[in-house]
């Protein structure tokens, strides 16, 4: 309340100069270590939205502060405290990883600052630990895997081999895949996070009689796994399906090794619709690489904030009004239809994606058939707020 009041007072007294922005947004994402590419997409996506809006959100001068959580919980916590206490931001946008979100969730929501996640969407905060101050513009973490499982069921793959790193998100994604898949799971392997050499797992896959593989091997793990899978000649024998494994952050390194591999997601850079096409071409011109879902969801987060600030006429002191405005999700999402469920997680459609080489020689995912329309996550019922 304090900072909202301060901002209002400053506005009334006409103090808001160039240095004193009317809207302050802090972003906490991972910009160090191998997964830094994901965080960079989020920063660039948000920045592009700000540029499109002339540096304003809801017509108010906006200051955008970017912090690197270094993928260390205590650093994330310290940075988040800095944003809410020293910078007194109105919105925190973050994080990429669920464990970073866990580290900053309590202090931010308890300070009654709005927290908007452009990627991480853990089940805890969708269910019983949901918060009136928390919104997600991406998905509930399991949803992509759920969609992939539904696709595998429809496509008639009778036997699937599953592989994931041995941590919470890995197990969640395996559970998610099982949700709509009734076929036989012929193998389920967990590797350590950051695993380098997949030949043992590949040998297992080869000796199983699976029709398809379902993988959740994010970032550098995916780069290695996909290439080793292709090198072992398995790509010709079975279908490769994955989530967070062949996306625009890993494809520059995977290239033809990932050709024809399938994924499930809420958007792809070749999605139709004018806003999406304009976004992709502007993004590529400005940053020189293909935007992935991380950039898209951050762009949408900026547009969401823009719509909310507009709706309350720049007065951020009334938290309930701001929340209602955010809830309305009155903006044109790059992915088409988008609305918030009761737990502030999105209700959106999921598609089958496949990896293609574009005409300009870049590799990207391409949107295929619709798997789920206006799909809700399965934890919303546990949320009381």
């Amino acid at each position: 309340m304090k900072m909202g009041a301060l901002a209002a007072v400053a506005g009334l007294m006409g103090l808001a100069g160039a240095a004193l922005a009317d809207v302050k947004v802090g972003m906490v994402v991972t910009l160090s270590g191998p997964p830094a590419a994901l965080g960079q997409q989020a920063v660039d996506g948000f920045q592009l939205a700000l540029d499109d809006l002339g540096g304003t959100l809801g017509g108010q001068a906006t200051e955008f502060i970017v912090e690197d959580d270094e993928l260390k919980p205590e650093v994330a916590l310290s940075k988040a405290n800095g944003l809410i206490e020293a910078e007194e931001v109105d919105f925190v946008v973050g994080t990429i990883f669920s464990n970073m979100l866990q580290a900053i969730f309590r202090p931010i929501t308890e300070s009654e600052t709005f927290l908007i996640s452009p990627n991480a969407g853990p089940s805890t905060f969708a269910g019983n630990a949901c918060s009136p101050f928390f919104f997600v513009t991406s998905y509930q973490n399991n949803q992509n895997a759920e969609a992939m499982g539904a696709y595998a069921q429809d496509a008639g793959f009778a036997k699937v081999f599953m592989i994931a790193p041995n941590y919470q998100a890995g197990r969640d994604n395996m559970e998610g895949f099982r949700m709509h898949y009734d076929g036989e799971i012929v193998g389920e392997v967990y590797v350590p996070l950051g695993h380098q050499d997949y030949s043992a797992e590949i040998a297992r896959i080869a000796t199983s009689d699976a029709d398809a593989v379902f993988a959740f091997t994010p970032g550098g793990m995916g780069v290695r796994f996909v290439r080793q899978f292709r090198d072992a000649g398995l790509a010709d024998r079975m279908q490769f399906m994955s989530v967070f494994t062949t996306d625009e952050t890993t494809l520059p390194a995977q290239k033809e090794a990932a050709e024809g591999f399938l994924a499930a997601g809420n958007w792809a850079p070749d999605a139709d619709g004018e806003t999406s096409e304009a976004f992709v071409s502007a993004f590529e011109t400005k940053y020189g690489y293909v935007p992935g879902g991380y950039a898209m969801q951050a762009y949408d987060a900026a547009m969401l904030i823009n719509s909310a600030v507009n709706a309350v006429g720049g007065d951020l002191s009334d938290k309930d009004a701001v929340r209602a405005a955010l809830r309305a999700a009155d903006f044109q999402s790059l992915r088409g239809t988008f609305s918030f469920n009761a737990n502030h997680y999105p209700v959106q459609s999921f598609y089958q994606l496949s990896v293609i080489e574009r005409e300009d020689g870049n590799w990207a995912t391409s949107k295929g058939t619709l798997i789920f329309e206006n799909y809700e996550d399965s934890f919303a019922a546990e949320c009381n707020m």
Partner: protein, 325 residues
Amino acid sequence: MSTLEAAPPVTRPVAPLVIAGAIFALLALTPLFSELYGGAYVTSLAVRAMILAIVAISLDLLMGHAGLVSFGHSAFVAIGAYVAGIMVTEGAQEMALILPTAILCAAGFAALSGAICLRTSGVSFIMITLAFGQMVFFGLGSLAQYGGDDGLTLWSSPEVFGTRWLTSKEGIYWVVLLTLITTWALTHRIVGSRFGRVLRAARQNPTRVASMGYSVFRYRLTAYIIAGVVSAIAGVLWATHAAFVSPSLGSWQRSGDLIVMVVLGGMATRNGALIGALFFILLEEVLSSITHDWRLIFGPLLVLIALHARGGLVGLLDRVRGAAA
């Protein structure tokens, strides 16, 4: 006995006290300053720095005085933090229960691993402590019911005899500061005692100390347990402060950071570990607010300090003072 008594005093008595007093006074005034700028950001940064300082001081007892470079010290922090996290999750929020449990767990682990580690010395000791640290790290990461690698959010906060004062921002700040001062004072009581002199003498010449009838092993094991318990207490405080624990608290990188803090500040000096930890966090914070690529500055700075400041920051301070006098 006489040779032990004759061991040279670790530091000159008066000046280090003044410096420590100034640091503690500054830390005590930080909540006041934070009213002017930064609020809980500054205090929470200070809490983090102080908790690390507590751990660093306990590590210096091992590194500086006993000559035992532990590369698995952060495991004790993780043990303390996880005891708090798990007990709170299971509904045992009473600090009067949590703290003794954490102390017992840490002491037990220290006694067990120490009994094995202390059979070795030098680089072997560094590596075998690393081995135990890694075992704790991987072990905590496999606790799926407590969040696995993602870590564990403490949805409610520890209580002190049913009250909540510890979880207020002021409460935790003063408790951590008080723990830091106590650790600092206690460590120097230990270091100055006969126990400390035996440890130091054994660092230089274990055979001789053994021939004088002291069990070097027992003295070292006791020091190892003390350091582990102090770090576990720091871990409980961290869990209370951050309301979040994760296995990364016990990773080898954290243990390495701790060693760097102690060496940076100056080993076996009254204030080295304290100054090293505070300086490390402060510098990291200042540099990373200037640029995301702050390690390009921080790295070379560490190299320069290693090359040119023998005895770490405290040694540097002494020389500056010496030159001025």
